[in-house]
């Protein structure tokens, strides 16, 4: 079903011509990758037919959410600037926001919308997913597995819509060596037999068991006893309503914790490091079983990080993978837990978006592979000890100029971080414990009779150390989550399938070998983290973008679809 009109030019085919006039359903558009992909398409592929953006929220809720994203996220800044006052018309001509939820049957849409889209959509891009590593397993199952099944249902019902499902390289689980671009096999990374349907059923049973245990009268009685005992210790007599409310809260909290633990335990027992990678792998396995009915490709990005050039160099957001490692390298704690020589498979977000676009086109051209991996370790290796040193050098450059005081400028800037064994005596856990001990002393252990100035100093200092303990705890949690990738396993993700597709537009080519890591890390990634991510770690307000003319999503009659003719395609693309 290859389109002859788009092939054969200079031995490759055109992204623009393949996607011109095509209708895309996009899930997960509010996420890091989703937003960049959407902005990239609007910026570089205005001849696309229509992008249906599935967002949670009913009625105007989804539309308002979309307007907020487009108005506030810096991702859309280049588009706002390019369109000047025409942003509302430009975007509304190309985007239709659909209220829904991937975790619900029929994607949470009303029947009429669902049927309209089933008849209209050419390609579904499923970016939706819960990226928390160890969430409540019910949430992970709903977003990562049920969501994937619901988009597959959509494509199956359509009969012609193709599906690109975005997964992660780390479905490989606890594994060493080169990881091929192959479907999830019939064995888990831990070597146990893996039958997707049976595993899905087992997971549901696990959830039911945790529910049942939590609802057990004995559990409730035990919680009630605890509440009464605590109230009595504080000298309170709990009335019935108060006790019942407290027990209810405790039960819900306990249920969430047990659900998270059950997911993690199940994942680990099968050889995955966390619930996220386990549920993503399960979704892949289930999708694989439907490959005879749905044309589907799975794209597995590795660790998605700051953009190299789109929407602009350094764009990043959230509590990402390398962020905490880089942040740690800029503090007084030198020993970043990582194994020297292990790769950290970083891939810039705009590279991922290009890969997604290529694979979506390959699917439309009926020449796609079942699995694509999208990383750098196979083609442009970056060792974790190298990036640790680069991070320390980047902080050095920054602190020499922008350090808050002489101590930071002269000493902290030269306080090099290095990859070290997690058991090193100066690891984050030990430092945190030491700092917590200092905090306890400053708060409760100091002598009663001390000068008021010293007392005030101790109070201020205890707040600082307390804050430090909290931050270290956060970093420690994240480092522990990433330990399988930074220390325990040496994985190189093969990333070659995408090379089968020769693209004529250079701006859409996927070429991670062109990344020069030193300049990327020092001049792009670290400044990006410093601006967009570190404020979040430090509980500072996020920088938001404010366009000169706010974007409003116009109703369909005011925003006719862009006309697609061969002439207009050429003009827009040139």
């Amino acid at each position: 079903m290859s389109d002859a009109g788009t092939a054969g030019r200079a031995g490759g085919w055109s992204i623009r011509e393949t996607l011109a006039g095509k209708r895309v359903l996009l899930t997960g558009a509010s996420g890091f990758v989703g937003k960049v992909w959407l902005a990239m398409m609007l910026d570089r592929l205005p001849q696309i037919g229509r992008i249906y953006v599935l967002l949670r929220g009913k009625g105007r809720g989804a539309r308002e959410r979309f307007e907020k994203i487009v108005n506030e996220s810096p991702v859309f800044k280049p588009l706002h600037e390019a369109q000047e006052g025409r942003m509302s018309e430009f975007v509304s001509q190309r985007v239709e926001v659909v209220a829904g939820d991937v975790s619900a049957p029929k994607l949470g849409m009303d029947d009429a919308t669902y049927e309209r889209l089933v008849a209209d959509v050419d390609v579904v891009l499923n970016f939706a997913g819960l990226v928390d590593f160890n969430p409540d397993v019910r949430d992970a199952l709903a977003s990562n597995v049920d969501g994937a099944m619901h988009v597959a249902d959509f494509c199956e019902r359509s009969g012609r819509a193709v599906l690109l499902h975005v997964s992660t390289c780390y479905v490989a689980g606890h594994r060493d060596g080169r990881v091929p671009e192959a479907p999830v096999g019939d064995r888990s990374p831990g070597g146990k037999p893996l039958q997707a349907q049976a595993e899905y059923a087992a997971l549901q049973q696990l959830i039911a068991d945790v529910h049942a245990e939590n609802d057990d009268p004995a559990t409730e009685a035990s919680l009630r006893d605890d509440v009464l005992r605590r109230l009595a210790e504080r000298g309170h007599e709990g009335d019935y309503k108060r006790v019942t409310d407290m027990v209810g809260r405790l039960k819900r909290k306990r249920l969430r914790e047990n659900m998270a633990k059950a997911g993690t335990d199940r994942a680990k027992s099968l050889g995955w490091p966390n619930t996220y990678t386990y549920t993503k792998a399960l979704a892949e396995a289930l999708l694989q079983q439907r490959a005879d009915r749905v044309r589907v490709s799975v794209l597995r990005p590795a660790i998605v990080e700051s953009a190299t050039e789109f929407p602009f160099a350094g764009w990043n957001e959230g509590f990402n993978t390398s962020g905490p490692l880089v942040y740690l390298a800029g503090t007084w704690f030198r020993h970043v837990p990582a194994a020297a020589g292990n790769p950290l498979d970083v891939i810039p977000v705009d590279f991922v978006c290009k890969a997604i676009t290529i694979v979506a086109c390959a699917l439309l051209r009926d020449e796609a592979s079942p699995v694509y991996q999208c990383g750098s370790s196979d083609r442009n290796f970056l060792a974790i000890d190298r990036l640790t040193e680069l991070s320390a050098l980047g902080h050095r450059k920054h602190l020499r100029e922008h350090g808050a005081n002489a101590l930071e400028k002269l000493v902290l800037s030269r306080w090099d971080a290095k990859a070290a064994d997690p058991e090193h005596v100066l690891n984050v856990t030990n430092i945190r414990k030491l700092m917590a001990q200092v905090t306890r002393y400053l708060k409760h252990g100091r002598p009663e009779k001390i000068p008021s100035e010293v007392r005030e100093w101790a109070d201020d200092m205890s707040k600082t150390t307390d804050n430090g303990v909290r931050k270290l705890r956060q970093i420690e949690d994240v480092l522990e989550l990433f330990m399988p990738f930074t220390y325990e396993h040496y994985c190189v993700f093969v990333c070659r399938a995408i090379d089968r597709h020769v693209i004529i537009e250079p701006e859409f080519r996927f070429a991670p070998e062109t990344i020069e890591w030193r300049s990327y890390w020092l001049d792009v990634h670290m400044p990006g983290l410093r601006r967009w991510c570190f404020p979040e770690y430090e509980d500072k307000p996020k920088e938001i973008y404010t366009p000169k003319t706010p974007f409003r999503l116009l109703d369909p009659p005011a925003a006719a679809s862009p006309s697609v003719t061969s002439t207009s395609v050429g003009e827009v693309g040139s």
């Binding site: 050098l393 050095r396 450059k397 030269r414 090099d416």
Partner: protein
Amino acid sequence: MSATHTAAFFRAEGVLVSSGVMHAAMFMAGQRAGMRERALRFGQALASVPVFGLLGQNDRTLGNRVAHLCYRDMTEDRVVVLAEEYVEDVLLEKVLDSGVELLRKAKADGHRVVVLSEGIGEIMHRLRERLRYVDDLICNALEYRDGKATGKLREPVIGGYEGGKWLKQYAAEHDLDLSRSFAYGTHGPDLLLLSAVGHPCAVNPDPTLRKAAREADWPVMDYSA
């Protein structure tokens, strides 16, 4: 057919900047990753100062090899970043204005301006960006293996007597008439360079070169800024 172009050759150390390779090596050694490594390599650099001083009068090739040993196992990333820091924070303060004026004049007179340096490329290329008027820079290069310096310099090592050999080849490649060209040197081993051109000049010369310049009746310039 006679050559049509002329050049002015400048030894960087002593003519354009007041510090030499030992200064840079000690700075780099003092910024190694980790306290132990810093102490070890700084000590190594310090110990090589008298060796370099002794050899520098005659065999600067060996002196340079000794001076750059303290780069061993330093990552290329670190060398590049610290080189930038060294140039911006230290070396620019040591640029000799009188030397820069010579560069400017040579350029204004239409000569191809060539700077020779015993320093490593990571430092000298960055300095070149800040010194205008330079057409070509010839300097030493560290050898790297797996992203780390081996502590060796790549051949040919700049600084020794072989300066005269490459000069002839360079002149042929760039169609230079050496008899109408200029050269500014500082050290004994620059003798070959100076004697190969029609207009040699000893700048802040060391004792060996000062004596030779006096005997050959070459002009001698002394400046400290």
